[in-house]
Subunit: 368 residues, 2 copies
C-alpha cells in the first residue's frame, strides 16, 4: 500500500443562506488550495465531490470550473458521512497506485435534501434526527447518570471554541444557562443541544508519498482508516442505545491500521451534531471509560473539536467530514492560529451518518 499524505486544505466561512450556486461554493476552497500550494492543475488526477445535492454530473462541472481535467471524477454521497467516505476513497485511489493526487471537495447548501430520512419507517412519526438523539440521551442518562448539565457544557465549550474560529457559523459564546433554558425540542434535547444545518464547503488535496516529500518537509500522513455501516434503520442500530456501535468498530479498525491507541491522540474532531453524541464518542473512541463520558466533558488532556465542532461551526452535511479532516490537518501543520493545539503530532477524525448507522474514523499524523 502506497502512503498517502494531505498536501493542502481549505474551508470556507460557514453561513446560513447563500445566493451563490452550489458549484461556486464548492470551487471556493479548491481555488485557495490550488493558489496557495502551487500545485499544477495538470497534476490533479482525481476530483471527488461530496454532497447530498440532487445536481447531476457535478464532479465534472466542478472540474471544468476549476480548469482541471482529472482522470477520475465522480460524486460520493452518504449523508453526514459523505465527506469522510470521499477522503477514504481518495486515499484508496492513491494507495492502490491508480493515481498520485486527488482533490476532495465537500459542499452543501442549507436547503439540502440530505436532511430527509424518509426511507426508515422504523422511526415511525419520529423522522427527524433530534428524535434519535433524544433516545440516545435518555438511555445514557438512565444507565450511567449522565446529566442535562453535562450535555449543556458540551454546547457551551464548543460554542466558546467556535468564537475563535472566523469560519464558524456561530461567532459568539453562549452561556450554560442559555443552553439549559433553551426551548425543549425532544426532551432532554433542547435547541442549543442541536447543531444547525448551514451552507459551506471544504476541500482537501491528497497526494502520494513521493509527491508529498517534494511539497513538504513534514507531510501529514493518513495513517489509519476505519469504516463501518451497520444498517439503515434506527431500530437496527443496536439493542444498546448507550453506544454507537459502528463508531466503536470503525475506531478499533483505525487504531489497528495506524498501530496507535487513544493515549497517543493529541487532537480530535468528533461528530457532535447533538451534545449527547460528543459524550458517546468519548467512550466509543476509548478516551473515557464506558459510562464516564458525562464526566469527561470538562477534561483538558486531549484537545477535542478545537474549531468548535459541528455545534459551533454549523453542519453543511456533505462538507462536514471534509472540514473535520481539514481542521486536523491544519492543527498538525501548526497553522491553526488562535486555536492552535501546541505540539500536536497525531489527530483523529470521527464522523457518523443517520443515527449512527454508519461511522468513519481516520487517524492522521506527522513524523515525530
Amino acid at each position: 500500500m502506497h502512503k498517502v499524505a494531505i498536501a493542502g486544505y481549505a474551508t470556507t466561512k460557514f453561513r446560513r443562506k447563500s445566493e451563490t450556486s452550489l458549484f461556486e461554493i464548492a470551487c471556493e476552497p479548491c481555488r485557495n488550495i490550488l493558489a496557495e500550494y502551487e500545485i499544477l492543475k495538470k497534476e490533479i488526477d482525481a476530483v471527488l465531490f461530496s454532497s447530498c445535492s440532487v445536481e447531476q454530473y457535478s464532479s465534472s462541472i466542478i472540474s471544468e470550473m476549476l480548469g482541471l481535467s482529472p482522470k477520475i471524477s465522480h460524486r460520493i454521497d452518504n449523508l453526514c458521512n459523505s465527506g469522510t467516505n470521499a477522503i477514504a476513497c481518495a486515499f484508496s485511489y492513491i494507495a492502490s497506485g491508480l493515481c498520485d493526487s486527488a482533490l476532495v471537495v465537500g459542499a452543501e447548501k442549507i436547503d439540502t435534501p440530505g436532511r430527509r430520512l424518509t426511507w426508515d419507517i422504523t422511526r415511525g412519526e419520529y423522522g427527524l434526527p433530534v428524535h434519535w438523539a433524544g433516545l440516545f440521551a435518555k438511555a445514557h442518562m438512565r444507565k450511567y447518570g449522565t446529566t442535562e448539565e453535562q450535555m449543556a457544557m458540551v454546547s457551551v465549550r464548543n460554542h466558546l471554541k467556535a468564537a475563535k474560529n472566523p469560519d464558524a457559523l456561530f461567532g459568539e459564546p453562549i452561556t450554560y444557562d442559555e443552553v439549559l433554558n433553551s426551548r425543549q425540542i425532544v426532551p432532554p434535547i433542547k435547541l442549543l443541544d442541536c447543531s444547525s444545518l448551514c451552507t459551506g464547503s471544504s476541500a482537501i488535496l491528497l497526494v502520494s508519498d513521493k509527491k508529498a516529500r517534494k511539497i513538504s518537509e513534514n507531510p501529514i500522513w493518513i495513517r489509519g482508516i476505519g469504516q463501518q455501516t451497520n444498517c439503515a434503520s434506527f431500530s437496527k442500530v443496536a439493542n444498546d442505545l448507550t453506544s454507537i456501535h459502528a463508531a466503536k468498530q470503525a475506531s478499533a479498525d483505525a487504531y489497528r491500521m495506524a498501530a496507535t491507541d487513544p493515549l497517543s491522540i493529541d487532537v480530535v474532531e468528533l461528530h457532535d451534531a447533538f451534545t449527547i453524541l460528543e459524550i458517546l464518542a468519548y467512550e466509543d473512541l476509548h478516551f473515557a471509560k464506558k459510562g464516564e463520558g458525562g464526566k469527561f466533558v470538562n477534561q483538558e488532556e486531549i484537545s477535542i473539536n478545537p474549531r468548535g465542532g459541528i455545534l459551533g461551526c454549523g453542519h453543511p452535511i456533505g462538507a462536514t467530514g471534509v472540514a473535520q479532516v481539514a481542521e486536523i490537518a491544519m492543527q498538525l501543520d501548526g497553522n491553526a492560529g488562535l486555536r492552535q493545539v501546541k505540539g500536536c503530532k497525531t489527530g483523529l477524525v470521527h464522523n457518523l451518518a443517520a443515527a449512527g448507522t454508519s461511522a468513519t474514523v481516520l487517524i492522521l499524523g506527522i513524523d515525530q
Copy 2:
C-alpha cells in the same frame, strides 16, 4: 498493488416501467450473486451503489435490505459513467488493501433525473443528448464519408444480438429499412439510431487475489483501468468532433496498465447510446484506423456488444456500466449461453458520460 478479480456478476431483465422501488430493483442481482456464489454475507467489506437517483443514504439502505454490514458503503454518481466509476473505485479499495471484497450494484428507473443536462448552457437550446450525437455524426460523415446506412447497420446488428439476450429491453430483430425509415430526430440521427432509457440493475462482486483463488480455478482479473474527464460543457469536448478524446486517453491508459493492445482483445462492450458512438469507439479504441469506423461495422474479427449493447439492451443509466462489465465477465467465464464468444480470454469495456466529456475503459482477462 493487490490484484483484483470478479467473483460474481448478475443482471436483471431490463424493462420500461416498474412499480417496484429502486432499492428492490437494486437488490435483485445482488441476491442472485449472494445465492449463486455462496459468498458469506459477513465477507462483503464494501457496498457501492451506482445510480443517478435522488434517494439519500441509498447504499446503507441496500446493505440493510441484503442483510449486509459492510465497512465501506456509499453511492457514486457520474451520469452514464457511474457504474464503471464505481467498479474502478471498488477496484482501488481492494487493490490498496483497505478491503478484500466489494459488491458494486447499479440500478436506475426509467424516470431517472440523470436524463437532464441542465447545467451546460453551451448547448444552447439543444439540451438533449441526441443533439450532440447529431453533431458527431455530421462531423464524421463530412470528414470521412461515413454514411447513414453504416450507422443503421450498427442498430440492426445490436438489435439482432439483443434478440438472443433474454434480459434485453428489445427482444426482436429490426430491419435495415426500419432504421433508415424511422422518424428523424436530429438529422442524421433517426429514432432507431437512439437507445432507450429504461429500468434495470446489475451487480458485480470484486474480490482480492487471495479470495479469488479460493473461489475460482480461473479467476477473471481486472487488468487495466483508464479514466478521463475532460470537461462538463459540450463546447469544450474538443475542436475535433470526429473523436471522443476522453475515450482515446482512457483507452491508452488502460492498454498500458494491462500491458496489452487492441489486437489482443477478443470481446468488447462499448458505449453505443447512439449508433455514431459505436463507430467513433471503433476508432478511439484503435480497432479501426481513424476515419474507417464506418467500414468496420460489418467486421467479424472482434465480438462487439454481444449482449446487444445499449441500443439493444436499453439504458438504465447508473446500471449500464455495471451491466457492461457483467457481460464481459460472463463471456470470459464461458457462461454466456446462446451468445457465448468462443475462446475469449481478454475483454474490454468502454463507457462514456455526457457527450463524451468523460470516459472509462476497463480491460478484463483470464489466464491463458
